[in-house]
């Protein structure tokens, strides 16, 4: 491998790591380490896999807990729909998760299933109280 090619590969790996960073579990004292911001920048979604270790299981259904903050950091008054897809493969999940509101800006999403290992895009659609406007926060995860 030439020096320039090696450098290019290293740069690409570095860029990929940065791109995924927003979705990867990061060292924190908080239980909320997975984060996605709506594409218009107005709302922040924090989410975690329910269980002791906040890890994505391998081809098994799992539940996630979701917290949605508004711009001030308080709980956002929104409705939630959750979906996931593999854009490279052109498919989504084989199931539709059930969303349950468990508190102001807090949700439990039951039955998420990333049935194939690889790169998935998690999408959190957040609806205003009147149901007219929806915003999306999305992030990428690597399913085992």
């Amino acid at each position: 491998m030439t020096r320039s090619l090696r450098s290019t590969v290293l740069i690409m790996i570095g860029a990929a790591v940065l791109a995924f960073q927003a979705c990867l579990p990061q060292p924190s004292e908080s239980m909320w380490v997975r984060k996605a911001v709506t594409n218009d920048g107005l709302l922040t979604v924090w989410w975690r896999v329910v269980g002791e270790r906040d890890e994505l299981p391998e081809s098994d259904p799992f539940d996630i807990e979701v917290r949605v903050d508004d711009a001030s950091g308080g709980p956002a008054d929104v409705a939630l729909e959750m979906d996931a897809e593999m854009p490279h493969h052109g498919h989504g999940m084989n199931v539709r998760p059930v969303v349950e509101r468990i508190g102001p800006g807090r949700f439990l999403v039951k039955g998420v299933l990333l049935h194939m290992s690889g790169r998935w895009e998690m999408a959190f659609d957040l609806g205003d109280p009147d149901g007219v406007r929806w915003r999306r926060a999305q992030c990428t995860v690597e399913a085992p």
Binding site: N39, D40, E81, D83, P87, H88, G90, G92, E121, A123, D125, G127, D130, G131, V132, R133, W134, R135, R136, Q138, T140
Partner: protein, 629 residues
């Protein structure tokens, strides 16, 4: 259970040059005589939607035009029983019933956009795409009253079975319903979007016969055959035409079908191909003749709409319910495909029945869907500091507007957006169901009056079938296909109507205009379905127009069209979706051809010849019907 429905069918004949062949019916000798046809004459009649005429057809070819008095006005469907001929018209929207020398009309002030009709005894069922209903009239009731209604998303076809149950297709919900009309609701539903057995993609025409149901599975390019008792798919006829003009058993966008009384022949309308194929039900599955891979023909699908603004262009791919994004800032003239997004589904960012796209400032794209009634705004902004490459992760859904929730507080109907346009300040959405143009900001949020109501501009009373709009700084241009006109709207809500472009001896009359676009220099481009035309005009005083260029040429060569539909401003010219050729073509505002392209193919030099695959001659076909399982 052994199914007796014919699982396959064999090609017998092709009848060409039937412009926009959209509907077909068998006329008995009794009815033929009452219509003034020669004694003993009976057979198929085909409705040519683009010419607005009915024509007799047979296996040997095209016959005479049926004289109709008064002439048909924007007809879209035909049906017949022993006594009467039924023709659905859209200008105005109503049903013409021809019974001997007597012509009557049904549905005035009830129907909005009727698209299909079927009769059973005294009952007449009409599918109405704008009402989003199937409406059943009873000719035995007082004033031919409506006796039943079923709600859908976009009803497209109706047929009664022998037991009097009404089968109907919903093209936007991709379902088929079986409904006992004395029962409430839409009836049982069969199918979902998809191409596997038991699935449909935009089902349209439907016929019931001898315990089987035959459905034009429009975007799956096949005739789906269902067992009437179970609703299960028993088989399907046809194979997708890989390139346009292929036939001989390959089916391309089927619209309607009808059987001869003995059931030995089925006539299938393919308006997209301007033809009818005659099939013989039964026989074996079609063989692979090795002609599935195109040589030079262009093979990508494009829907009716395209939109370009600055560095990006968006086009619809209806077969997969997705949107393709093109980069216009590459090193060559060719638009480069950089992402596809969408696909069928219920959530934001999914498009079960996509209807329009609109490029917005900031490398964003608005997308609207008929089925889920959502307006999405997608960001598709590549990193311009690097070479732009295909990236499936590029599109990001920024926001979505639930149009039903938006219209509900003001008592609006379920919105049915057919086109979007950016006027430089607002995003405009053409909604025939609510007879208005809704206004949104560049984020796709409804613009609102001080009262909180969403802003809108009402459409004029006389507008028949609004299909596309263009806008520039508050001025609107709407193409009225069934009305054969353009409507020019102003900010104050006033409208004027144009039926002719140009003046004096350099003018062209509009027949079925479809696409409209305002180019960068203010020129107006209009596509015309009935003449395969592209007209470019400059504005004069008082909305007069000067014809700059007019191309009316059917064919597959460059600077020829086959069903031109959407048109968009593109760089300093315009780009036309040449839908019937599965490609797009770009022109200057002087009408000069610039290039032809599709996915992976691009031509800047005019071609004198385009090679297409040749299909073998049609083999002699069996004439029997029945099961082959």
């Amino acid at each position: 259970m052994i199914l007796d429905c014919p699982q396959h069918a064999q090609p017998v004949a092709q009848i060409e040059d039937l412009r926009g062949a959209c509907s077909v019916a068998f006329v008995t000798s009794t009815l033929a005589q009452s219509l003034g046809l020669p004694e003993g004459a009976q057979g198929m009649i085909v409705l040519e939607c683009e010419r607005g005429v009915l024509r007799a057809v047979g296996e040997s070819g095209v016959g005479a035009e049926l004289p109709m008095t008064p002439p048909l006005r924007a007809p879209v469907a035909v049906a017949a029983d022993d006594e009467a001929l039924l023709v659905v018209e859209q200008a105005p929207p109503r049903l013409r019933i021809v019974h001997g020398a007597v012509t009557t009309y049904l549905g005035d002030a009830v129907l909005r956009k009727p698209v299909a009709v079927a009769a059973h005894g005294t009952l007449i069922a009409v599918a109405d795409a704008s009402l989003r209903q199937v409406v059943v009239f009873d000719l035995a009731a007082t004033a031919n009253a409506v006796v039943a209604r079923a709600d859908g998303v976009m009803p497209a076809g109706v047929a009664f079975d022998a037991a009097g149950r009404l089968w109907w297709t919903d093209s936007a919900a991709h379902r088929v319903h079986r409904w006992v009309i004395t029962d409430p609701g839409p009836g049982e539903a069969f199918g979902e979007r998809g191409a596997f057995p038991g699935q449909f993609t935009e089902p349209t025409g439907i016929v019931c016969r001898d315990g089987c149901v035959y459905i034009c599975d429009h975007l799956n390019h096949r005739i789906a055959v269902l067992d009437e008792s179970t609703g299960r798919m028993a088989g399907w006829w046809g194979m997708h035409a890989v390139i346009p003009r292929q036939g001989k058993g390959r089916i391309h966008y089927p619209d309607a079908l009808a059987f001869t009384p003995d059931g030995t022949r089925a006539f299938v309308c393919e308006g997209f191909e301007d033809r009818v194929q005659v099939l013989s039900p039964g026989g074996p599955a079609p063989i692979n003749d090795g002609l599935s891979i195109p040589r030079e023909g262009v093979s990508s699908h494009f829907g009716p709409d395209a939109s370009a603004l600055g560095p990006i262009m968006a086009m619809i791919e209806p077969e997969t319910g997705s949107v393709m994004i093109f980069n216009l800032m590459g090193s060559t003239l060719a638009p480069a495909h950089i992402a596809t997004f969408g696909g069928s589904g219920a959530l934001p960012g999914r498009y079960p029945s996509i209807s329009s796209v609109c490029a917005l400032p900031g490398e964003r794209v608005a997308v609207v869907d008929r089925s889920n009634a959502r307006l999405d705004v997608i960001s598709a902004s590549p990193d311009r500091s690097k070479p732009v490459a295909f990236d499936q992760f590029l599109p990001r859904l920024v926001a979505s507007t639930d149009l039903v929730a938006m219209a509900r507080p003001i008592g609006g109907k379920h919105p049915l957006i057919v086109d979007l346009a950016w006027d430089g300040a607002e995003l405009l959405a053409l909604d025939p169901a609510n007879r208005c143009v809704w206004r949104f900001d560049r984020q796709g949020a409804p613009d609102r009056y001080s009262t909180g109501e969403p802003k809108r501009t009402d459409l004029p009373e006389g507008m028949r079938e609004p299909v596309q709009l263009a806008a520039s700084h508050g001025e609107l241009v709407v193409a009225d296909r069934a009305g054969g006109a353009l409507w020019i709207g102003q900010l104050d809500g006033s409208w004027s109507r144009i039926t002719e472009l140009g003046r004096d001896d350099t003018s062209v009359k509009l027949v079925r205009p479809f696409g409209v676009a305002i180019a960068e220099d203010g020129s107006l481009a209009v596509t015309e379905e009935s003449t395969d035309g592209l007209h470019i005009v400059a504005w004069g005083p008082e909305h007069s127009t000067e014809l700059v260029s007019s191309t009316q040429a059917r064919g597959i060569l460059d600077h020829q069209f086959w069903l031109p539909q959407g048109v968009t401003a593109f760089r300093d010219g315009v780009l036309v979706v040449d839908r019937g050729n599965h490609r797009f073509q770009a022109f200057g505002t002087d009408g000069a051809w610039r290039f032809t392209g599709s996915l992976g193919k691009f031509y800047t030099r005019k071609r004198e010849q385009v090679r297409q695959n040749e299909l073998p001659a049609v083999a002699p076909a069996p004439t029997t019907t029945g099961g082959d399982s």
